[in-house]
Point group: C2
Chain length 371, copies 2
Amino acid sequence: MKRTGEQFRTIWQHPENPAIVQIIDQRKLPHEYVTTDLVTWQDGATAIQEMLVRGAPLIGATAAWSLYLAAIDAAGNDDNKATVLTAADALEATRPTAINLRWALDRMRKVIEASTPDKLAETLAAESRDICDEDVEISRGIGQHGLTLIEEIAARKKGEPVNVLTHCNAGSLATINYGTATAPVYFAMARGIDVHVWVDETRPRNQGSQLTAWELAENDVPHTLIVDNAGGHLMQHGQVDICLTGTDRTTRNGDVANKIGTYLKALAARDNGIPFYVALPSTTIDWTITDGLKNIPIEERDPNEVSHICGRAGDQLCTVDTVASKTRISNYAFDVTPARLITGLITECGVCDASEDGLAGLFPELARKTG
Amino acid sequence: MKRTGEQFRTIWQHPENPAIVQIIDQRKLPHEYVTTDLVTWQDGATAIQEMLVRGAPLIGATAAWSLYLAAIDAAGNDDNKATVLTAADALEATRPTAINLRWALDRMRKVIEASTPDKLAETLAAESRDICDEDVEISRGIGQHGLTLIEEIAARKKGEPVNVLTHCNAGSLATINYGTATAPVYFAMARGIDVHVWVDETRPRNQGSQLTAWELAENDVPHTLIVDNAGGHLMQHGQVDICLTGTDRTTRNGDVANKIGTYLKALAARDNGIPFYVALPSTTIDWTITDGLKNIPIEERDPNEVSHICGRAGDQLCTVDTVASKTRISNYAFDVTPARLITGLITECGVCDASEDGLAGLFPELARKTG
């Protein structure tokens, strides 16, 4: 497997033992590139919970493959379908904010129910593979539709580089390949457009400095790392042409839950007249809710994510505690950016307004089904 | 010297050898409390440049005391006044954004010019001491005027804690004592008001987690550390009653240069109808400029401030590099918050609108002198 490019995947079956699923342990990037074997569904649950994998689409895919592992484990049991459905419930509780997790599990539940018990594992492998293949096609669609926005800016800037600001990692590493927010950037690069990406560090887990910077470097995309505090200053001084982020859940009316701090960048973009786009697969739309601020549960995570950080000290990796031990820490993982601050949503089916009409225009059947 | 409280000072003459000035090496907090001797004026310049001391008022005081050290060194020379004036020019170049540095040096230059050569050192010691004593009185004034704002919120909340959000360290450690943004909090605590402070981590140098959290803990002020990304979310959910920050330079019309990221918090405060106040000694007002965005030079600092961080690993202090070595980093230290986003300015002479009229109303003579 190549680390980037067309053949890149973030989750795959072991080439010699298909009963093992492999992932990249993203906690070790950019310092070490290490793959990890998932042998049981519990390995998958741990990988999601402890963030070996993260990013809404990859979380969904990992949950799907975990059910395949559960089916292998339960093979030959009379109640194997019930066992796998129990695993699905446990997996659903691993991360409360990401909607793809629920979406992938619901899709798998239907397949479990329809499957014959003796074919369960192979049916779930096929479905997991489909979820991954479809996700790559979704990223391609987002890349192509987002490319148009970048092309327009490039034409206006007449050869000057297009400066994109992104927050967190909504890249290849968050999906199966290409990413969501990064897909338009990769497609623009392939088209020969001069693009430069401002990469928000993304405290507390530093997905920007540790994952986005890593994958942009691997793909030769010019980029500069900045602290999360810097984006407003850059926007005030004309250094940002477009903001592109991903999302963990989008409401029916276009409110966007994404990594904590996204809302602050959207405010700065509006204050400076800079377009703020959110890239999303339609699977991250939660058609059942219309008020992101009230209805999306915001995960609180371990305070140690804020106080502790891993880095290189000479040849060694070392985790240091940067905070005085008696300091109380609060660690909200996401915030909600209201639709009013979002210029548009880039989906696999096109770009639309961040509104119920916008989303329903692109996805009329999905909107009707849960309307 | 006590570490906090009424007798606390951040810069002082050595109790046994008055030719030495002592400071706290703030780079080592909160892990170690270490004081450092300044023996030459160059020691003072290094302390400012390498941020052993930081915070506009303390930078000014350190520069003043450095000139006293230069005068001791040049004592007996024919051209001692010229030598000390040369040191003043070198000190002025150490930090471009903080206006107090220029203010303190201009004040010292006048004293140098008026002094007899044989009395130079003792005259500069007296002036430095005056600058420090006056700064404590300024912080007291800010504390008393800011207290009124907190009392009003406390009265409205009927016993519920008043939640203050602050960015960077505008505390005792940034001044001589009490701080600017923290002074109203300390005065409210002394008045028995239930106060809680959200402390922004303040990347890249973590002055929030390493200095503000430390001094609030030493003074028993309830506080919670958050990443810089979290403030918007807290404001959306009613968890912040008032934002209080310091400033490194305030323009004639009330634009505020402060630690990078302040602007993002001001945007969030406005979006959520939360008062955003900036606390400042009148010495941080730059009466000569009226457009902060255009006219305040924004210092770019070493990229290693972003990539490297020091913390405890077991019993040891260890600095780790958190970023892949090929990643390019940009590190702007300050941003400018336009006056339109600021509810009011808290000064030693009262609270006013962030506007030329507001400032000139409180400081008519200063406004006239440079009008």
